[in-house]
Symmetry: C2
Subunit: 316 residues, 2 copies
Amino acid sequence: MRCRRCGDKAEIYLKRHNAAFCNDCFQVYYSEQVRKNIRREKMFGSKDRVLVVVSGGKDSMALWHKLLKEGYDVTAMYINLGIGDYSDRSQEIVERFSEEYEAPLIVRNIEKDYGFNIPRLAREIRRSTCSLCGTIKRYLFNKVALDGGFDVVATGHNLDDEAATLFGNVLSWQEGYLARQSPVLPSTHPKLVKKVKPLFTLTERENLAYVLFNGISFIHEECPHALGASSILYKEVLNQLEEASPGTKQRFLTNFLKKGRKNFEACSETPDLRECSICGQVTTAEVCSFCRLRQMAEKKKMKADLWAQESENPEQ
Amino acid sequence: MRCRRCGDKAEIYLKRHNAAFCNDCFQVYYSEQVRKNIRREKMFGSKDRVLVVVSGGKDSMALWHKLLKEGYDVTAMYINLGIGDYSDRSQEIVERFSEEYEAPLIVRNIEKDYGFNIPRLAREIRRSTCSLCGTIKRYLFNKVALDGGFDVVATGHNLDDEAATLFGNVLSWQEGYLARQSPVLPSTHPKLVKKVKPLFTLTERENLAYVLFNGISFIHEECPHALGASSILYKEVLNQLEEASPGTKQRFLTNFLKKGRKNFEACSETPDLRECSICGQVTTAEVCSFCRLRQMAEKKKMKADLWAQESENPEQ
């Protein structure tokens, strides 16, 4: 098969576009997609300070690399979530990339900085690891961006992620979520930083090709807690539909953004935002959900310490 | 496993309801569903004359049987679509049921009455057999109901059908179709008969159990032209989601009807309905799509006859 642009030997075939590319021309295609997304959706400009959230996976590593190459003012943030060996190996990958490309990187460690052990806390308070993780990450993305004076937070969400999320919201007709799903979440409060997804039209496979073609290291496995998550089933199902009719995923998402979403706009309530009485971050309650988690974690820890003391001094 | 209602040995387990039933109690469950649907959605009353459209398949045979047992004023209509052996065998099944239950039946034969050979015409005018078939059936449902003075047309569409249709419409965000999808299509013109789907909350499997438990004959195979249709893929995909999370299909459809659909109501344009200048049936154009198909079929036939004549008398 020949490259659509230059006629050389092709190295990747994109069925949904019915186009094959060589390595170099694939990079041109990839750059054009990212540039178009940033420009059309007014994500950020060349003077904006961008905080790109990286996990060590192919998508966020591709985004970090691409934004650096495009000359944006980019700083990466890695959050070590304390998920054993998985978190440590991904931190290593991110740190090595930062050194190699002399790219600024902020590292946060949930257990060291805040005392959360996510898997343990999830068991103790009977919440899913993924929902806990989501709460903590959303809090930190915003806090680090705000404290560091960043204009925008960029994440590596790809077309497969966005289509799977949309699919889940449609299956249960979550009107509020449908109203808000977008590649750009604008700032609706002075203490809430804008969030963008520059890779929302690129598939997992295309991001994988990008990192492989550019020799970028990344962590291959999924987070061990994500196994069995419904989002993985939704991705599988969408892949079957894509196989039968290439372009289904993209049509599903882009038609939603163009035609579907506007029908749910009336369902989007503007929440009454205020500042958390403990940390000052934006919340809809008196105390934000991050600070509530911290309080719960401390209580559990105090109980455990007390129990340990009693075991050591059983006579008292 | 024991029957939820009477404690006897269960013969069917309905995972989405986490309930098992014996034969008799399943019939009670089934009747309650049909009655609730007819009453809640205001489909028809005991004095209404109902035209039930039957194909010989499990769903429409179950509907026909159930409505007769419930004492409604029911007449069935069977349309022989000229799809070879498949059509003839299903006609036999329907006629045998009509005799056995002394149930009134109207039979139409597309090829004999109108000269359409659906598979051949589809090839000649390059339209899919299924879309042609749909146009012809929709026309005849309404014409027969109108000519016979029926108040309502009932079809055997089940939960799997409705969920698959909804799924297809959502995948491409067909706003107009989403606005109109409903178990009840009211009459919006004096010459347009109301249409209802009393089995829209019952699954294929439940309709199958109903006909088996009641010893009702039915044609087991799908229409040969439906193989490979996207609706079959959508049903497979929904079955996978149902397997992983029982009740998904029902939640998807009922949440749409309760919460989702209202968001698309503004997208439903009231079409400018008038009467076809040839047959007088309701249409949005000068000539209705059925009469246009007839004209095309006649033209193709005239050409073929002319060609046959020329072959017989090559000297002229």
